[in-house]
Protein backbone atom coordinates (compact mmCIF):
# COMPACT_ATOMS: atom_id res chain seq x y z
CA UNK A 1 0.00 0.00 0.00
CA UNK A 2 1.49 3.26 -1.08
CA UNK A 3 1.18 6.61 0.53
CA UNK A 4 -0.99 8.05 -2.23
CA UNK A 5 -3.83 6.13 -0.63
CA UNK A 6 -3.29 7.97 2.63
CA UNK A 7 -6.85 9.25 2.56
CA UNK A 8 -8.24 5.71 2.62
CA UNK A 9 -6.01 4.82 5.52
CA UNK A 10 -6.99 8.01 7.25
CA UNK A 11 -10.70 7.44 6.91
CA UNK A 12 -10.42 3.84 8.08
CA UNK A 13 -8.41 5.01 11.08
CA UNK A 14 -11.10 7.53 11.92
CA UNK A 15 -13.78 4.89 11.39
CA UNK A 16 -12.14 2.49 13.80
CA UNK A 17 -11.51 5.22 16.35
CA UNK A 18 -15.15 6.23 16.28
CA UNK A 19 -16.43 2.68 16.51
CA UNK A 20 -14.06 1.93 19.38
CA UNK A 21 -15.34 4.91 21.32
CA UNK A 22 -18.94 3.87 20.75
CA UNK A 23 -18.25 0.39 22.04
CA UNK A 24 -15.90 1.16 24.92
CA UNK A 25 -17.39 4.26 26.58
CA UNK A 26 -20.20 4.04 29.08
CA UNK A 27 -21.02 7.71 29.01
CA UNK A 28 -23.75 8.30 26.47
CA UNK A 29 -22.47 11.70 25.40
CA UNK A 30 -19.08 10.19 24.66
CA UNK A 31 -20.84 7.48 22.68
CA UNK A 32 -22.44 10.20 20.60
CA UNK A 33 -19.03 11.77 20.04
CA UNK A 34 -17.70 8.43 18.87
CA UNK A 35 -20.64 8.09 16.55
CA UNK A 36 -19.88 11.51 15.11
CA UNK A 37 -16.25 10.62 14.46
CA UNK A 38 -17.48 7.42 12.85
CA UNK A 39 -19.71 9.40 10.51
CA UNK A 40 -17.04 11.98 9.78
CA UNK A 41 -14.78 9.18 8.63
CA UNK A 42 -17.19 8.35 5.85
CA UNK A 43 -17.67 12.00 4.93
CA UNK A 44 -13.90 12.27 4.75
CA UNK A 45 -13.82 9.24 2.49
CA UNK A 46 -16.33 10.76 0.08
CA UNK A 47 -14.77 14.20 -0.01
CA UNK A 48 -11.30 12.92 -0.75
CA UNK A 49 -12.77 10.58 -3.35
CA UNK A 50 -14.09 13.52 -5.37
CA UNK A 51 -10.91 15.56 -5.24
CA UNK A 52 -8.93 15.65 -8.46
CA UNK A 53 -5.29 16.63 -8.06
CA UNK A 54 -4.88 20.20 -9.18
CA UNK A 55 -8.58 20.57 -9.82
CA UNK A 56 -10.51 23.65 -8.89
CA UNK A 57 -14.03 24.14 -7.73
CA UNK A 58 -16.46 22.97 -10.40
CA UNK A 59 -17.33 26.47 -11.59
CA UNK A 60 -16.45 27.35 -15.14
CA UNK A 61 -14.81 30.78 -15.02
CA UNK A 62 -16.07 33.53 -17.36
CA UNK A 63 -12.69 33.71 -19.10
CA UNK A 64 -12.46 30.04 -19.91
CA UNK A 65 -13.61 30.48 -23.50
CA UNK A 66 -13.90 26.85 -24.23
CA UNK A 67 -10.60 25.84 -22.55
CA UNK A 68 -10.57 22.62 -20.71
CA UNK A 69 -10.93 23.37 -17.00
CA UNK A 70 -9.71 20.81 -14.52
CA UNK A 71 -12.21 20.64 -11.69
CA UNK A 72 -13.00 18.22 -8.84
CA UNK A 73 -15.94 15.85 -9.09
CA UNK A 74 -18.73 17.77 -7.38
CA UNK A 75 -21.13 14.89 -6.92
CA UNK A 76 -19.50 13.24 -3.84
CA UNK A 77 -19.21 16.65 -2.27
CA UNK A 78 -22.86 17.38 -2.88
CA UNK A 79 -23.83 14.00 -1.51
CA UNK A 80 -21.95 14.81 1.65
CA UNK A 81 -24.03 17.90 2.20
CA UNK A 82 -26.95 15.55 2.64
CA UNK A 83 -24.93 13.17 4.78
CA UNK A 84 -23.85 16.02 7.02
CA UNK A 85 -27.47 17.04 7.44
CA UNK A 86 -28.33 13.46 8.35
CA UNK A 87 -25.45 13.43 10.81
CA UNK A 88 -26.57 16.66 12.41
CA UNK A 89 -30.12 15.36 12.75
CA UNK A 90 -28.89 12.13 14.28
CA UNK A 91 -26.69 13.99 16.74
CA UNK A 92 -29.50 16.34 17.69
CA UNK A 93 -31.89 13.47 18.26
CA UNK A 94 -29.27 11.47 20.15
CA UNK A 95 -28.42 14.37 22.42
CA UNK A 96 -32.05 15.15 23.16
CA UNK A 97 -32.60 11.50 24.02
CA UNK A 98 -29.65 11.74 26.39
CA UNK A 99 -31.25 14.77 28.03
CA UNK A 100 -34.46 12.80 28.54
CA UNK A 101 -32.50 9.83 29.84
CA UNK A 102 -30.67 12.07 32.28
CA UNK A 103 -34.04 13.40 33.48
CA UNK A 104 -35.56 9.95 33.85
CA UNK A 105 -32.61 8.09 35.39
CA UNK A 106 -30.58 10.91 36.89
CA UNK A 107 -27.49 9.67 35.06
CA UNK A 108 -26.12 9.31 31.56
CA UNK A 109 -23.76 6.43 32.32
CA UNK A 110 -24.82 3.23 30.64
CA UNK A 111 -23.67 0.88 33.42
CA UNK A 112 -25.61 2.97 35.96
CA UNK A 113 -28.73 2.79 33.81
CA UNK A 114 -28.41 -0.95 33.39
CA UNK A 115 -28.06 -1.27 37.15
CA UNK A 116 -31.15 0.87 37.78
CA UNK A 117 -33.14 -1.18 35.27
CA UNK A 118 -32.09 -4.41 36.94
CA UNK A 119 -33.04 -3.05 40.34
CA UNK A 120 -36.46 -2.17 38.98
CA UNK A 121 -37.02 -5.75 37.92
CA UNK A 122 -35.78 -6.80 41.33
Amino acid sequence: MSLDQWHHIGSIALLCTGLYIVISRDNLVKKMMGLNIFQVAVIFFYVTMGKVTGGTAPIIPADAHGHEVLYSNPIPHVLMLTAIVVGVATTALGLSLIVRIQEAYGTAEEDEIVRLDLEEIG
Binding site: V22, L35, F38, M49, P76, L93, G94, L97, R100, I101
Partner: protein
Protein backbone atom coordinates in the same frame (compact mmCIF):
# COMPACT_ATOMS: atom_id res chain seq x y z
CA UNK B 1 -51.81 14.43 -13.81
CA UNK B 2 -52.24 12.26 -10.72
CA UNK B 3 -52.05 9.15 -12.83
CA UNK B 4 -48.65 9.98 -14.32
CA UNK B 5 -47.12 11.33 -11.12
CA UNK B 6 -48.15 8.57 -8.76
CA UNK B 7 -44.59 7.46 -7.87
CA UNK B 8 -43.73 10.99 -6.77
CA UNK B 9 -47.01 11.63 -5.00
CA UNK B 10 -46.81 8.57 -2.80
CA UNK B 11 -43.57 9.92 -1.28
CA UNK B 12 -44.20 13.62 -1.45
CA UNK B 13 -47.67 13.63 0.10
CA UNK B 14 -46.71 12.24 3.52
CA UNK B 15 -43.54 14.34 3.50
CA UNK B 16 -45.59 17.49 2.96
CA UNK B 17 -48.32 16.58 5.39
CA UNK B 18 -45.86 15.78 8.18
CA UNK B 19 -44.57 19.36 8.65
CA UNK B 20 -48.11 20.69 8.33
CA UNK B 21 -49.13 18.37 11.16
CA UNK B 22 -46.57 19.97 13.43
CA UNK B 23 -48.75 23.09 13.39
CA UNK B 24 -52.08 21.33 13.70
CA UNK B 25 -52.76 21.32 17.43
CA UNK B 26 -56.30 20.02 17.20
CA UNK B 27 -56.30 16.37 18.15
CA UNK B 28 -59.03 15.15 15.84
CA UNK B 29 -57.96 17.20 12.83
CA UNK B 30 -54.42 15.85 13.15
CA UNK B 31 -55.70 12.34 13.41
CA UNK B 32 -57.99 12.63 10.41
CA UNK B 33 -55.29 14.27 8.33
CA UNK B 34 -52.81 11.51 9.14
CA UNK B 35 -55.28 8.73 8.43
CA UNK B 36 -56.36 10.36 5.19
CA UNK B 37 -52.73 10.60 4.07
CA UNK B 38 -52.06 6.96 4.84
CA UNK B 39 -55.19 5.87 3.00
CA UNK B 40 -54.31 8.07 0.05
CA UNK B 41 -50.87 6.46 -0.13
CA UNK B 42 -52.43 3.03 0.06
CA UNK B 43 -54.74 3.95 -2.79
CA UNK B 44 -51.74 5.07 -4.84
CA UNK B 45 -49.86 1.88 -3.99
CA UNK B 46 -52.77 -0.27 -5.08
CA UNK B 47 -53.18 1.61 -8.33
CA UNK B 48 -49.50 1.33 -9.11
CA UNK B 49 -49.27 -2.31 -8.14
CA UNK B 50 -51.97 -3.12 -10.67
CA UNK B 51 -49.74 -1.86 -13.47
CA UNK B 52 -46.30 -2.45 -12.04
CA UNK B 53 -46.64 -6.14 -11.35
CA UNK B 54 -46.36 -6.78 -15.09
CA UNK B 55 -44.57 -3.73 -16.51
CA UNK B 56 -42.33 -1.71 -14.22
CA UNK B 57 -43.12 1.98 -13.98
CA UNK B 58 -40.18 4.34 -14.48
CA UNK B 59 -40.40 7.91 -13.28
CA UNK B 60 -37.88 10.74 -13.40
CA UNK B 61 -38.06 12.89 -10.33
CA UNK B 62 -38.56 16.54 -11.25
CA UNK B 63 -38.27 15.75 -14.94
CA UNK B 64 -34.48 15.23 -14.68
CA UNK B 65 -33.57 12.13 -16.58
CA UNK B 66 -31.32 9.52 -15.05
CA UNK B 67 -28.39 9.35 -14.54
CA UNK B 68 -28.38 13.07 -13.78
CA UNK B 69 -31.69 13.08 -11.96
CA UNK B 70 -33.11 10.59 -9.51
CA UNK B 71 -35.09 7.82 -11.12
CA UNK B 72 -37.99 6.14 -9.35
CA UNK B 73 -38.87 2.65 -10.45
CA UNK B 74 -41.86 0.64 -9.35
CA UNK B 75 -41.70 -3.05 -10.18
CA UNK B 76 -43.38 -6.09 -8.63
CA UNK B 77 -41.00 -6.18 -5.66
CA UNK B 78 -41.19 -2.51 -4.80
CA UNK B 79 -44.94 -2.37 -5.26
CA UNK B 80 -45.28 -5.23 -2.77
CA UNK B 81 -43.27 -3.19 -0.28
CA UNK B 82 -45.32 -0.08 -0.97
CA UNK B 83 -48.50 -2.06 -0.40
CA UNK B 84 -47.25 -3.44 2.89
CA UNK B 85 -45.96 -0.16 4.29
CA UNK B 86 -48.94 1.98 3.30
CA UNK B 87 -51.41 -0.83 4.05
CA UNK B 88 -50.13 -1.46 7.56
CA UNK B 89 -49.98 2.27 8.23
CA UNK B 90 -53.58 2.60 7.06
CA UNK B 91 -54.63 -0.01 9.58
CA UNK B 92 -52.44 1.05 12.50
CA UNK B 93 -53.16 4.79 12.36
CA UNK B 94 -56.92 4.51 12.96
CA UNK B 95 -56.17 2.06 15.77
CA UNK B 96 -57.50 3.23 19.07
CA UNK B 97 -57.91 6.64 20.65
CA UNK B 98 -54.37 7.90 20.05
CA UNK B 99 -53.42 9.67 23.23
CA UNK B 100 -54.87 7.21 25.70
CA UNK B 101 -53.15 4.37 23.96
CA UNK B 102 -49.80 5.94 23.42
CA UNK B 103 -49.51 7.76 26.71
CA UNK B 104 -48.47 10.86 24.86
CA UNK B 105 -49.13 14.13 26.60
CA UNK B 106 -52.30 15.72 25.28
CA UNK B 107 -51.43 18.23 22.57
CA UNK B 108 -48.43 16.28 21.32
CA UNK B 109 -50.46 13.89 19.23
CA UNK B 110 -49.70 15.87 16.13
CA UNK B 111 -45.97 15.28 16.67
CA UNK B 112 -46.59 11.57 16.89
CA UNK B 113 -48.52 11.62 13.64
CA UNK B 114 -45.87 13.75 11.97
CA UNK B 115 -43.12 11.31 12.95
CA UNK B 116 -45.26 8.42 11.86
CA UNK B 117 -45.82 9.87 8.41
CA UNK B 118 -42.13 10.67 8.00
CA UNK B 119 -41.27 7.13 8.94
CA UNK B 120 -43.78 5.85 6.42
CA UNK B 121 -42.48 8.16 3.69
CA UNK B 122 -38.92 7.06 4.35
CA UNK B 123 -39.77 3.37 4.23
CA UNK B 124 -41.70 3.76 0.99
CA UNK B 125 -38.92 5.89 -0.45
CA UNK B 126 -36.39 3.10 0.02
CA UNK B 127 -38.65 0.77 -1.88
CA UNK B 128 -39.36 3.10 -4.75
CA UNK B 129 -36.10 4.84 -5.52
CA UNK B 130 -33.75 3.74 -8.25
CA UNK B 131 -30.87 5.82 -6.94
CA UNK B 132 -28.43 4.25 -4.53
CA UNK B 133 -27.64 7.36 -2.53
CA UNK B 134 -31.32 8.12 -2.26
CA UNK B 135 -31.69 4.74 -0.55
CA UNK B 136 -29.36 5.93 2.19
CA UNK B 137 -31.23 9.20 2.58
CA UNK B 138 -34.60 7.52 2.90
CA UNK B 139 -33.10 4.90 5.22
CA UNK B 140 -31.99 7.66 7.56
CA UNK B 141 -35.31 9.53 7.30
CA UNK B 142 -37.24 6.44 8.33
CA UNK B 143 -34.70 5.55 11.01
CA UNK B 144 -34.69 8.98 12.61
CA UNK B 145 -38.46 8.99 12.66
CA UNK B 146 -38.59 5.52 14.17
CA UNK B 147 -36.12 6.44 16.95
CA UNK B 148 -38.51 9.23 17.87
CA UNK B 149 -41.50 6.95 17.76
CA UNK B 150 -39.87 4.34 19.97
CA UNK B 151 -38.80 6.98 22.49
CA UNK B 152 -42.50 7.85 22.96
CA UNK B 153 -43.02 4.62 24.89
CA UNK B 154 -44.45 4.81 28.37
CA UNK B 155 -41.57 3.46 30.42
CA UNK B 156 -38.25 5.23 30.75
CA UNK B 157 -36.61 2.19 29.26
CA UNK B 158 -38.08 3.24 25.94
CA UNK B 159 -35.56 6.08 25.93
CA UNK B 160 -32.64 3.75 26.39
CA UNK B 161 -34.06 1.37 23.80
CA UNK B 162 -34.37 4.22 21.34
CA UNK B 163 -30.84 5.38 22.07
CA UNK B 164 -29.35 1.92 21.55
CA UNK B 165 -31.31 1.60 18.35
CA UNK B 166 -30.03 5.01 17.29
CA UNK B 167 -26.44 3.95 17.83
CA UNK B 168 -26.87 0.61 16.07
CA UNK B 169 -28.94 2.12 13.30
CA UNK B 170 -26.45 4.87 12.64
CA UNK B 171 -23.59 2.40 12.50
CA UNK B 172 -25.60 0.29 10.06
CA UNK B 173 -26.57 3.29 7.98
CA UNK B 174 -23.01 4.56 7.88
CA UNK B 175 -21.69 1.19 6.78
CA UNK B 176 -24.24 1.26 4.00
CA UNK B 177 -23.14 4.75 3.06
CA UNK B 178 -19.52 3.65 2.89
CA UNK B 179 -20.51 0.72 0.71
CA UNK B 180 -22.45 3.01 -1.58
CA UNK B 181 -19.43 5.30 -1.82
CA UNK B 182 -17.23 2.41 -2.92
CA UNK B 183 -19.75 1.32 -5.50
CA UNK B 184 -19.80 4.88 -6.81
CA UNK B 185 -16.04 4.93 -6.97
CA UNK B 186 -16.04 1.67 -8.88
CA UNK B 187 -18.74 2.54 -11.38
CA UNK B 188 -19.02 6.30 -11.43
CA UNK B 189 -22.79 6.28 -11.12
CA UNK B 190 -25.45 6.04 -8.47
CA UNK B 191 -28.27 4.92 -10.71
CA UNK B 192 -28.99 1.30 -9.85
CA UNK B 193 -29.69 0.21 -13.39
CA UNK B 194 -26.39 1.67 -14.58
CA UNK B 195 -24.49 0.18 -11.66
CA UNK B 196 -25.88 -3.23 -12.49
CA UNK B 197 -24.50 -2.85 -16.00
CA UNK B 198 -21.09 -1.56 -15.02
CA UNK B 199 -20.29 -3.69 -11.97
CA UNK B 200 -19.53 -6.86 -13.94
CA UNK B 201 -16.51 -5.07 -15.46
CA UNK B 202 -14.94 -4.52 -12.06
CA UNK B 203 -16.34 -7.59 -10.38
CA UNK B 204 -12.86 -8.98 -9.65
CA UNK B 205 -11.71 -5.92 -7.79
CA UNK B 206 -11.33 -6.46 -4.05
CA UNK B 207 -13.17 -3.17 -3.59
CA UNK B 208 -16.30 -4.79 -5.03
CA UNK B 209 -16.21 -7.39 -2.32
CA UNK B 210 -15.70 -4.82 0.37
CA UNK B 211 -18.60 -2.77 -0.99
CA UNK B 212 -20.85 -5.84 -0.98
CA UNK B 213 -19.78 -6.71 2.54
CA UNK B 214 -20.51 -3.18 3.78
CA UNK B 215 -23.93 -3.02 2.18
CA UNK B 216 -24.92 -6.48 3.40
CA UNK B 217 -23.65 -5.88 6.94
CA UNK B 218 -25.21 -2.42 7.09
CA UNK B 219 -28.53 -3.78 5.91
CA UNK B 220 -28.26 -6.76 8.24
CA UNK B 221 -27.92 -4.51 11.26
CA UNK B 222 -31.15 -2.76 10.36
CA UNK B 223 -32.78 -6.06 9.45
CA UNK B 224 -31.66 -7.54 12.79
CA UNK B 225 -30.12 -10.61 11.25
CA UNK B 226 -28.79 -12.88 13.96
CA UNK B 227 -26.34 -12.04 15.64
CA UNK B 228 -26.89 -8.34 14.87
CA UNK B 229 -30.31 -8.37 16.49
CA UNK B 230 -29.51 -7.06 19.95
CA UNK B 231 -31.29 -3.74 19.50
CA UNK B 232 -34.58 -5.27 18.39
CA UNK B 233 -36.14 -6.88 21.50
CA UNK B 234 -35.87 -3.73 23.61
CA UNK B 235 -36.99 -1.43 20.84
CA UNK B 236 -40.12 -3.46 20.14
CA UNK B 237 -40.85 -4.12 23.79
CA UNK B 238 -40.75 -0.55 25.07
CA UNK B 239 -42.10 1.29 22.05
CA UNK B 240 -45.79 2.25 22.17
CA UNK B 241 -47.73 -0.83 21.08
CA UNK B 242 -49.07 0.65 17.87
CA UNK B 243 -45.54 1.71 16.93
CA UNK B 244 -44.27 -1.80 17.61
CA UNK B 245 -46.98 -3.10 15.32
CA UNK B 246 -46.01 -0.73 12.53
CA UNK B 247 -42.24 -1.13 12.88
CA UNK B 248 -42.31 -4.88 13.31
CA UNK B 249 -44.43 -5.16 10.21
CA UNK B 250 -42.54 -2.73 8.00
CA UNK B 251 -39.21 -1.52 9.40
CA UNK B 252 -37.13 -4.63 9.12
CA UNK B 253 -38.89 -5.61 5.90
CA UNK B 254 -37.53 -2.61 4.07
CA UNK B 255 -34.00 -3.49 5.14
CA UNK B 256 -34.60 -6.90 3.67
CA UNK B 257 -35.55 -5.15 0.46
CA UNK B 258 -32.24 -3.25 0.48
CA UNK B 259 -30.21 -6.41 0.93
CA UNK B 260 -32.12 -8.30 -1.76
CA UNK B 261 -31.81 -5.41 -4.19
CA UNK B 262 -28.13 -5.13 -3.42
CA UNK B 263 -27.42 -8.81 -3.93
CA UNK B 264 -29.69 -9.60 -6.85
CA UNK B 265 -29.94 -6.35 -8.80
CA UNK B 266 -26.56 -4.75 -8.20
CA UNK B 267 -24.00 -7.46 -7.60
CA UNK B 268 -25.73 -10.38 -9.24
CA UNK B 269 -26.39 -13.94 -8.13
CA UNK B 270 -23.48 -15.46 -10.00
CA UNK B 271 -21.00 -13.24 -8.15
CA UNK B 272 -22.57 -13.32 -4.70
CA UNK B 273 -23.53 -16.97 -4.55
CA UNK B 274 -21.52 -18.44 -7.44
CA UNK B 275 -18.13 -16.86 -6.66
CA UNK B 276 -18.34 -15.74 -3.07
CA UNK B 277 -20.72 -18.41 -1.77
CA UNK B 278 -22.40 -15.98 0.56
CA UNK B 279 -24.97 -18.68 1.31
CA UNK B 280 -22.31 -20.48 3.34
CA UNK B 281 -22.47 -17.56 5.75
CA UNK B 282 -26.15 -16.67 5.48
CA UNK B 283 -27.63 -20.15 5.82
CA UNK B 284 -26.02 -20.98 9.17
CA UNK B 285 -26.91 -17.53 10.49
CA UNK B 286 -30.49 -17.90 9.31
CA UNK B 287 -30.79 -21.33 10.91
CA UNK B 288 -29.34 -20.01 14.14
CA UNK B 289 -31.77 -17.10 14.07
CA UNK B 290 -34.71 -19.49 13.55
CA UNK B 291 -33.79 -21.76 16.42
CA UNK B 292 -32.27 -19.28 18.87
CA UNK B 293 -34.99 -16.68 18.26
CA UNK B 294 -37.83 -19.14 18.68
CA UNK B 295 -36.24 -20.77 21.71
CA UNK B 296 -35.72 -17.39 23.32
CA UNK B 297 -39.35 -16.52 22.57
CA UNK B 298 -40.46 -19.62 24.44
CA UNK B 299 -38.84 -18.39 27.65
CA UNK B 300 -40.09 -14.81 27.61
CA UNK B 301 -42.43 -13.61 30.31
CA UNK B 302 -43.65 -10.56 28.43
CA UNK B 303 -45.91 -10.79 25.39
CA UNK B 304 -44.22 -8.01 23.48
CA UNK B 305 -40.77 -9.41 24.10
CA UNK B 306 -42.02 -12.82 23.02
CA UNK B 307 -43.19 -11.35 19.75
CA UNK B 308 -39.90 -9.49 19.33
CA UNK B 309 -37.84 -12.67 19.65
CA UNK B 310 -40.24 -14.42 17.34
CA UNK B 311 -39.52 -11.66 14.80
CA UNK B 312 -35.83 -12.49 14.94
CA UNK B 313 -36.68 -16.08 14.09
CA UNK B 314 -38.98 -15.01 11.27
CA UNK B 315 -36.27 -12.80 9.82
CA UNK B 316 -34.18 -15.95 9.76
CA UNK B 317 -36.73 -17.53 7.43
CA UNK B 318 -36.56 -14.56 5.09
CA UNK B 319 -32.78 -14.59 4.99
CA UNK B 320 -32.83 -18.32 4.37
CA UNK B 321 -35.17 -17.72 1.43
CA UNK B 322 -32.84 -15.23 -0.20
CA UNK B 323 -29.82 -17.45 0.41
CA UNK B 324 -31.48 -20.21 -1.61
CA UNK B 325 -31.37 -17.91 -4.62
CA UNK B 326 -33.85 -19.95 -6.61
CA UNK B 327 -37.37 -19.17 -7.72
CA UNK B 328 -39.23 -21.00 -4.96
CA UNK B 329 -36.87 -19.98 -2.18
CA UNK B 330 -36.73 -16.30 -3.06
CA UNK B 331 -40.50 -16.27 -3.52
CA UNK B 332 -40.74 -17.81 -0.05
CA UNK B 333 -38.51 -15.16 1.46
CA UNK B 334 -40.39 -12.32 -0.19
CA UNK B 335 -43.86 -13.69 0.47
CA UNK B 336 -42.89 -14.27 4.08
CA UNK B 337 -42.00 -10.61 4.23
CA UNK B 338 -45.60 -9.78 3.34
CA UNK B 339 -47.21 -12.52 5.38
CA UNK B 340 -45.12 -11.90 8.43
CA UNK B 341 -45.92 -8.19 8.21
CA UNK B 342 -49.62 -8.97 8.38
CA UNK B 343 -49.32 -11.62 11.08
CA UNK B 344 -46.90 -9.79 13.34
CA UNK B 345 -48.67 -6.48 12.84
CA UNK B 346 -51.92 -8.12 13.87
CA UNK B 347 -50.39 -9.79 16.92
CA UNK B 348 -48.78 -6.59 18.13
CA UNK B 349 -52.16 -4.89 17.84
CA UNK B 350 -53.62 -7.70 19.93
CA UNK B 351 -51.01 -6.94 22.57
CA UNK B 352 -51.87 -3.26 22.27
CA UNK B 353 -55.51 -4.07 23.02
CA UNK B 354 -54.43 -6.14 26.01
CA UNK B 355 -52.10 -3.51 27.47
CA UNK B 356 -54.75 -0.85 26.97
CA UNK B 357 -57.23 -2.76 29.10
CA UNK B 358 -55.11 -4.81 31.47
CA UNK B 359 -52.23 -2.30 31.85
CA UNK B 360 -49.70 -5.09 31.55
CA UNK B 361 -48.29 -7.41 28.96
CA UNK B 362 -46.79 -9.85 31.45
CA UNK B 363 -48.04 -13.27 30.46
CA UNK B 364 -48.48 -14.43 34.05
CA UNK B 365 -50.88 -11.61 34.82
CA UNK B 366 -53.15 -12.40 31.90
CA UNK B 367 -54.64 -15.68 33.15
CA UNK B 368 -58.17 -16.31 31.94
CA UNK B 369 -58.04 -13.43 29.49
CA UNK B 370 -60.45 -15.29 27.21
CA UNK B 371 -63.19 -14.75 29.79
CA UNK B 372 -62.59 -11.03 29.97
CA UNK B 373 -61.57 -10.16 26.43
CA UNK B 374 -62.92 -13.03 24.34
CA UNK B 375 -62.47 -11.40 20.94
CA UNK B 376 -58.95 -10.22 21.70
CA UNK B 377 -57.93 -13.63 22.97
CA UNK B 378 -59.42 -15.25 19.88
CA UNK B 379 -57.44 -12.83 17.71
CA UNK B 380 -54.25 -14.02 19.40
CA UNK B 381 -55.26 -17.59 18.72
CA UNK B 382 -55.87 -17.02 15.00
CA UNK B 383 -52.79 -14.85 14.56
CA UNK B 384 -50.77 -17.43 16.44
CA UNK B 385 -51.96 -20.18 14.15
CA UNK B 386 -50.77 -18.01 11.28
CA UNK B 387 -47.37 -17.68 12.89
CA UNK B 388 -47.14 -21.44 13.36
CA UNK B 389 -48.04 -21.83 9.70
CA UNK B 390 -51.17 -23.89 9.99
CA UNK B 391 -52.75 -24.53 6.57
CA UNK B 392 -55.27 -21.91 5.44
CA UNK B 393 -53.17 -19.20 7.09
CA UNK B 394 -50.62 -16.94 5.48
CA UNK B 395 -47.75 -18.54 7.38
CA UNK B 396 -48.40 -21.83 5.64
CA UNK B 397 -47.89 -20.27 2.20
CA UNK B 398 -44.46 -18.93 3.20
CA UNK B 399 -43.45 -22.23 4.70
CA UNK B 400 -44.55 -24.10 1.61
CA UNK B 401 -42.37 -21.99 -0.71
CA UNK B 402 -39.37 -22.07 1.61
CA UNK B 403 -39.43 -25.85 1.95
CA UNK B 404 -40.00 -26.12 -1.80
CA UNK B 405 -36.97 -23.90 -2.39
CA UNK B 406 -34.80 -25.95 -0.05
CA UNK B 407 -35.82 -29.20 -1.74
CA UNK B 408 -35.20 -27.73 -5.19
CA UNK B 409 -31.76 -26.78 -4.01
CA UNK B 410 -31.23 -30.31 -2.69
CA UNK B 411 -30.98 -29.03 0.89
CA UNK B 412 -33.14 -31.71 2.46
CA UNK B 413 -31.76 -31.22 5.94
CA UNK B 414 -32.51 -27.53 5.81
CA UNK B 415 -36.03 -28.18 4.55
CA UNK B 416 -36.50 -30.38 7.57
CA UNK B 417 -35.00 -27.72 9.85
CA UNK B 418 -37.50 -25.15 8.56
CA UNK B 419 -40.37 -27.42 9.51
CA UNK B 420 -38.86 -28.36 12.86
CA UNK B 421 -38.27 -24.76 13.84
CA UNK B 422 -41.85 -23.89 13.01
CA UNK B 423 -42.81 -26.38 15.72
CA UNK B 424 -41.08 -24.14 18.22
CA UNK B 425 -43.64 -21.51 17.26
CA UNK B 426 -46.32 -23.94 18.39
CA UNK B 427 -44.75 -23.93 21.82
CA UNK B 428 -44.54 -20.18 22.32
CA UNK B 429 -47.93 -19.46 20.79
CA UNK B 430 -49.66 -22.24 22.66
CA UNK B 431 -48.10 -21.37 25.98
CA UNK B 432 -49.97 -18.09 25.81
CA UNK B 433 -53.15 -19.70 24.51
CA UNK B 434 -53.17 -21.97 27.54
CA UNK B 435 -52.82 -19.00 29.88
CA UNK B 436 -55.65 -17.18 28.12
CA UNK B 437 -58.03 -20.10 27.97
CA UNK B 438 -57.28 -22.52 30.77
CA UNK B 439 -56.60 -20.29 33.72
CA UNK B 440 -59.33 -18.78 35.78
CA UNK B 441 -59.49 -15.01 35.77
CA UNK B 442 -59.60 -13.53 39.27
CA UNK B 443 -62.10 -10.95 38.06
CA UNK B 444 -64.49 -12.02 35.36
CA UNK B 445 -66.08 -8.71 34.41
CA UNK B 446 -66.07 -7.99 30.70
CA UNK B 447 -63.17 -5.80 29.62
CA UNK B 448 -63.31 -6.26 25.85
CA UNK B 449 -61.31 -3.70 23.92
CA UNK B 450 -63.29 -0.88 22.28
CA UNK B 451 -64.47 -1.30 18.72
CA UNK B 452 -62.03 1.20 17.25
CA UNK B 453 -59.21 -1.04 18.44
CA UNK B 454 -60.82 -4.36 17.70
CA UNK B 455 -61.71 -3.57 14.11
CA UNK B 456 -58.15 -2.79 12.92
CA UNK B 457 -56.82 -5.73 14.92
CA UNK B 458 -59.28 -8.17 13.48
CA UNK B 459 -58.81 -6.72 10.04
CA UNK B 460 -55.13 -7.72 10.07
CA UNK B 461 -55.90 -11.04 11.72
CA UNK B 462 -58.52 -11.76 9.07
CA UNK B 463 -55.95 -10.92 6.41
CA UNK B 464 -53.75 -13.75 7.68
CA UNK B 465 -56.55 -16.11 6.71
CA UNK B 466 -57.23 -14.31 3.44
CA UNK B 467 -53.56 -14.50 2.45
CA UNK B 468 -53.63 -18.17 3.33
CA UNK B 469 -56.37 -18.90 0.83
CA UNK B 470 -56.25 -16.15 -1.76
CA UNK B 471 -52.69 -15.47 -2.82
CA UNK B 472 -52.45 -13.42 -6.06
CA UNK B 473 -51.61 -10.29 -4.09
CA UNK B 474 -49.08 -11.95 -1.81
CA UNK B 475 -47.51 -15.05 -3.30
CA UNK B 476 -48.43 -14.00 -6.85
CA UNK B 477 -46.68 -10.66 -6.54
CA UNK B 478 -43.76 -12.24 -4.68
CA UNK B 479 -43.24 -14.86 -7.33
CA UNK B 480 -43.21 -12.19 -10.06
CA UNK B 481 -40.74 -10.18 -8.00
CA UNK B 482 -38.52 -13.23 -7.54
CA UNK B 483 -38.64 -14.03 -11.23
CA UNK B 484 -37.67 -10.46 -12.07
CA UNK B 485 -34.81 -10.42 -9.55
CA UNK B 486 -33.44 -13.73 -10.74
CA UNK B 487 -33.77 -12.78 -14.41
CA UNK B 488 -31.89 -9.54 -13.83
CA UNK B 489 -28.86 -11.20 -12.39
Amino acid sequence: MIQSNMPALIIVTPMLVAPILVFVRHRIVARVLAIATAWWCFYLAVSMAGVAQDTPIAYDMGGWEAPLGIAYTVDAFSSLLLLIVSGIASVVLPFGPGSALLAIPEGKNNLFYASFLMCMAGLMGIAITGDLFNVFVFLEISSLASYTLIAMGKSRRALMAAFSYLVMGTIGGTFTLLGIGMVYQLTGTLNMADIAQRLPDVIDSPATRVALALIVVGGSIKLAVFPLHQWLPNAYTYAPSAVSAFLAATGTKVSYYVIVRGIFTLFGVSFVFGTLHLERLLVPLALLAMFVGSTAAIFQTDLKRLLAYSSIAQIGYMVLGLAMANQAGLTGGIVHLANHAVIKGGLFLVVACITYRMHTSKIDELGGLAQRMPLTAAAWLVGGLGMIGVPTTAGFISKWYLVMGAIDRGWYGIAFAILLSSLLAVVYVWRVVEVFYFREASDKSNLEAPADMLVPTWFLIAMTIVFGLYTPWSAGLASKAAALLLAAS
